[in-house]
Amino acid sequence: MPDATISAPFDIYRYRPGQDAAPRYQRYTLEVAPHTPVLTALLKIRAEVDPSLGLRYSCRSAICGSCAMQINSKSRLACETHIGPEVERHGRVVVEPMRNQPVLRDLVVDQAPFWREYDRIEPHLKLDPRRPMPEGRATSMTPAQVDRFKETPRCIACAACYSACPAVEADPAFPGPMALAKLYRFVVDPRDTATQDRLVRIQPNGLWLCLRCHLCTEACPKDVRPSERIRDLKELAIAAQGGTEMGSRHAIGFKENLKDAGQLNEMKLVRATYGLGGMLGQVGQGIRVWRKKPEIMKRPRRIEGMEEVEKIYAALDPPPKEEP
């Protein structure tokens, strides 16, 4: 017996830049089994209703990374998103192109910005030509070394993370989650000889614009967990170079701040990050806030048991070297 079908309304974004005055949404209603993937429905619409619908796809098996798009506002692969739960939650399936990349036609975007950021991190091993590794060992790594970047090779470069990222949306200086996750992969590769250089170069080039909102980790269909790789990169950058940027100074400043009283001292942190001179630029805003919230100037009380926190710092900061 065939599965029961549902009547699924699709609102699909249609736009041909240069030809259409403005984007519009076209409604198609299909009778489908709930487990039908959104991509299958789109292909059915194109084959049977409207051959002009533009979309990009290839493998239909969540391997090629071609069919990422926004489905009910979430960036995901159309081939592995089932229609039933979408209709159940939203009453319809709104299908739009990915964000943060210009639309070429309907659901097809220009991925050039995404790939430009990928190229910029120089995604290849940099070996030292003067010191070739012994024959037969050039690519050998221990399982523990491989383990450090076991998630990133799963990336299929679908750009769902790039589409979901609010930092990419707000600031062209941010390289995006995928590029940074890939950078992490080369930074921790023991064969790569440019580790220090890579860390030094990424600090002023967007590393610290990550919001750690984890929207990329939510969007990633392959569980690469880009936000966590970016966190790892930040710690490595600080270990390599200390506080050279607002972001790294703020992270270090926060860590030092807690060592005083176990509680945040808001004013002292602002000073650690901006320096005295930089604080001047914040005076106007500071006074605005202080008039309503005078506690920003207050020194926090020292927590009880502060000596325990001090001893934890003594034991773990800097972190003891890991055993190989």
Partner: protein, 294 residues
């Protein structure tokens, strides 16, 4: 119910009104807050960036304090909730665990992982229960359209935070409906407030905050409400900067979660510290339609 109160730094300093509103609401709903003057700051995500294992250890200590008293923890900040939960997750990694234990053992601190970390939103939804909250409502917020703004760390990473769907959370909207307000649906409700880079690049941070406020506004919100005092700083204290970045007049009142609940339960604006906001809340409160006496 009895629970270990973990107010976090901001609610004890610039976000004092959040602490006031939390205490008022808990008192009125029979939640007994047990205080621990030895709790430290959670590190707010920044210590985690500088030194992951240190951050886990500091929070394992906080968790152990509640464990020793046999209590779960109540948080009122998405970031505290996120950091304490993350410490529990990372302590399941034997490598992290052995390093942290080695630092804690000499201090006589034993982390077991038995205490749960619960945000006030969850305590109201699951432990107190919406029917019980509803029964205490004295002034339903009828007529007030409120955009819930969850804050990232209450939701994500979903597999680690694991309380409800990160993509389609409903608990805040259901709570708002229970107190008579009309929840507003908008994409920005699960987005980022921009706060983590407020110090790195204020213009970008405020542009991100501005987008979410505009989104809520264009979907008809009279006010926003957030379970996170860092989101509140971004959305309220820095709203003037956000308005500049998005070239729009925003004038969006932003409530802390227990403030909207407190309003419905009959607290006065003074008891909830509403005068401490940078953006006045009066316009939103004026939307509340008086209900006919029963």
């Amino acid at each position: 119910m009895k629970i270990a109160y973990y107010p976090g730094c901001v609610a004890q300093e610039s976000g004092k009104e959040l602490d006031m509103a939390t205490r008022w609401v808990c008192r009125n709903l029979g939640i007994e807050l047990v205080e621990f003057p030895n709790f430290s700051c959670c590190g707010s995500g920044f210590v985690d960036e500088a030194n992951e294992v240190l951050n886990v250890a500091i929070n394992a200590r906080n968790l152990a304090i509640a464990e020793r008293a046999g209590l779960d923890l109540l948080t009122i900040c998405s970031t505290c909730q996120g950091m304490l939960t993350l410490a529990k997750v990372r302590m399941r990694d034997p490598k992290v665990r052995s390093r942290v234990d080695a630092a804690l053992k000499p201090l006589g601190i034993e982390y077991k992982g038995t205490a749960q970390v619960k945000h006030l939103l969850r305590v109201l939804s699951e432990d107190v229960g919406l029917p019980a909250v509803k029964a205490k409502v004295r002034r339903p917020l009828h007529g007030m359209k409120v955009g819930a703004f969850y804050g990232c760390h209450l939701l994500r990473p979903a597999d680690e935070m694991g309380s409800e769907s990160a993509e389609e959370p409903r608990s805040f909207e259901e709570l708002l409906a229970a107190i008579g307000a009309t929840p507003v649906e908008y994409r920005g409700r699960v987005m980022c407030c921009g706060f983590p880079i407020q110090f790195v690049k204020p213009s970008t941070a405020s542009a991100i905050a501005g987008r979410q406020i505009l989104d809520a506004k264009s979907h008809g919100a009279d006010a926003m409400a957030t379970p996170c005092p860092l989101c509140h700083l971004s959305l309220d204290a820095y709203q003037n900067q956000a308005a500049k970045e998005v070239h729009a007049s925003l004038e969006m009142p932003v409530f802390h979660l227990p403030q909207v609940v407190g309003l419905a339960l009959g607290a006065s604006p003074e008891e909830l510290g509403l005068r401490r906001h940078l953006v006045p809340t009066d316009a939103a409160i004026a939307k509340i339609r008086p209900s006919a006496p029963a």
